[in-house]
């Protein structure tokens, strides 16, 4: 194995190329207002069958109204604490155990999960998720529906703007860009939703000034 490593690196160094500087970063014009960002995010999500709701009251009230008798999956962070306000859920599971101890249940029992999101991107209608021990990775992937709560003040124009606004020198275990529910066009190039990931993606936008 180490032989191949040395062999490959030697072959690469056998022909040294003259390094050239990278072209200047191509920057798109910036300057969308918050309202414009919300509008763009919403339109782009809806174009790929993502659902976007501007939240007026609490998320728990919204869930009670729209997901009656559903088995909910929630993390153990702030949202997990607020889940005690939920009145209409059939059952509430808190993701507080390693996946190995309950994997079949996650795949078969859960109807909808609720998570926070790290940020959003207006230009492409994208949610940025940074899973944590409080909100693990599979929450936004395995349940048939995923509800993500997004703070409108965390809406950036695009990926490049988000990266330059934050320190990304140490990456988390997993970072995700999610732009709509799971989809495929593998049969006759015809779009079909909900192949492996969530069939529904609902973004609840919280807009405080």
């Amino acid at each position: 194995m180490t032989d191949s490593r040395a062999h490959i690196l030697n072959r690469l160094r056998h022909h040294e190329l003259t390094p050239q500087a990278k072209a200047p970063v191509y920057q798109k014009p910036l300057g969308l207002s918050k309202a414009q960002r919300i509008k763009s995010f919403t339109e782009k999500q809806q174009a790929v069958r993502g659902e976007v709701v501007l939240l007026n009251g609490s998320w728990t009230d919204w869930m009670d109204k729209h997901f009656k008798d559903a088995h909910l999956l929630i993390g153990t962070g702030e949202l997990g604490d607020q889940a005690s306000d939920l009145k209409n859920a059939k059952a509430i599971t808190h993701y507080d155990q390693p996946i190995e101890s309950w994997k079949p249940d996650l795949f078969e029992q859960i109807d909808v999960s609720i998570t926070t999101s790290h940020a959003g991107l207006a230009e492409s209608g994208t949610l940025i998720l940074k899973p944590t021990p409080q909100e693990p990775r599979l929450m936004s992937l395995v349940p048939p529906a995923h509800v993500a709560i997004l703070d409108a003040n965390r809406l950036y124009e695009n990926f490049a703007e988000l990266m330059s606004a934050e320190d990304w020198s140490e990456m988390p275990t997993n970072l995700l860009l999610i732009s709509g529910p799971s989809k495929t066009a593998d049969i006759e190039q015809t779009l079909a939703y909900g192949i492996h990931g969530p069939k529904r993606l609902i973004t609840l936008i919280v807009n405080h000034d």
């Binding site: 056998h14 191509y26 990456m171 999610i178 939703y193 192949i195 492996h196």
Partner: protein
Amino acid sequence: MNQQQAFERRIDEALHNAQLRQNFRSAMDGIRQRRAEQFPDEAQLQALREQVQSIRSYSLQNQADLLEKLEAKLTENGIQVHWAANPEEANGIIANILKAADAKTVVKGKSMVSEETELNHYLEEQGIEVIESDLGEYIIQLAKEPPSHIVAPAIHKNRVEVAELFQNFHPELPYTENIDELTETARVILREKFAKADAGISGVNFAVAETGTLCLVENEGNGRLSTTAPELHIAITGIEKVIDKLTDIPPLLEILTKSATGQPITTYFNMISRPRQEGELDGPKAVHLVLLDNGRSRIRWDDELLDTLRCIRCGACMNHCPVYVHVGGHAYGSVYPGPIGLALEPQRLGLDKAGSLTSACSLCGACGEVCPVKIPLPKIINRLRAESVNNQEASTVSGKGALRHVSEAWIWKLWSMSYSSPALHKFISWAGTRMSSFIPNKLGAWTHYRTRPTPAKRTLHELAKSAGIAND
């Protein structure tokens, strides 16, 4: 049968398969249209192409250093890095990792590099069950066929063919030709596999050296499931996929998804930097990356050919290729079809094995115009075509001159002589016009679909002279 004859036979079969041609035609027309809609501003597109070209060139210019940096950062992050010079070594490494973990079932995300190494076949021989989980890949795995397109692997199949395949393999499920229902069927079948698999295998779209991050682009979620649900994740990629910085990602991602499928962005962009950490409740406990060379380091030795390695595997070149659209991916008989296949496969495998691919090109230049990283595909294909019949020049590509025919070489020699000697040219064109009745009507393959060209009664020179146009 030599490689040229085998290639021509596959082309002939494809051209006579009306269903196949219809499937490709409609799919490719749609995909080209959607791509064009994503780039309404020509100036912005060209600026973006310039930028991603320079990002990819930078990574090739500094490839050894960047690979070492990537390895160091991944190792620091807890991801184990393996180097494989050839497909056998890569397959062996992966089989050993799986065996050490006692993994018996594997779910796979889409990976063209694993097609290069024929990984599935190898693992199945070792008694390991491998399930392709991308819908297109799953369909062709059932059909026991290779991908016919690098982005849309089952593009050659229509809904009826898919419905029949599902019925054959899962007679317990209701028969349907409805695409939404077929998709639901696949979801049901594959969900159980994801829940139970011991390991996941995936490809990589970009490997970021700076942060030690493996990036995967997909729409379905099968890539995320393969890399998150099982306890073990093994990624395999070509050594050219390394890039320098995280800030290189936004332009690369944008141009990749727009070029590949005409989407502003895919549903998922999955950035993996570590295995499961202390306190985390899911994700694989071990993550491995296998870096495969398989001829790539040699491609880099030639200053012109190395541009081939900039490729980000979007498939736009094949979607726009008039040859590919007519014959489809299988006719090429190679892992990578279409223009990028014409450029890459002869370099990877040698002109003696794959040189005849370069004849599947009309030199129209469409591939070079749409390539997001500005690979001069027409130029590279043309050069490889010349090298496959010319054994004179020094080349880093193996098997040069393998397709040389003595008779063809003589014809071109005569051609070249006649054009460098006015007297000889005059004589040959005079003889051609006066003795045209001696030219046989059947001229081999040329006259299969064409009538024999009839020379004029007098040469152009004679006509010009009689019209009073001064010679020379």
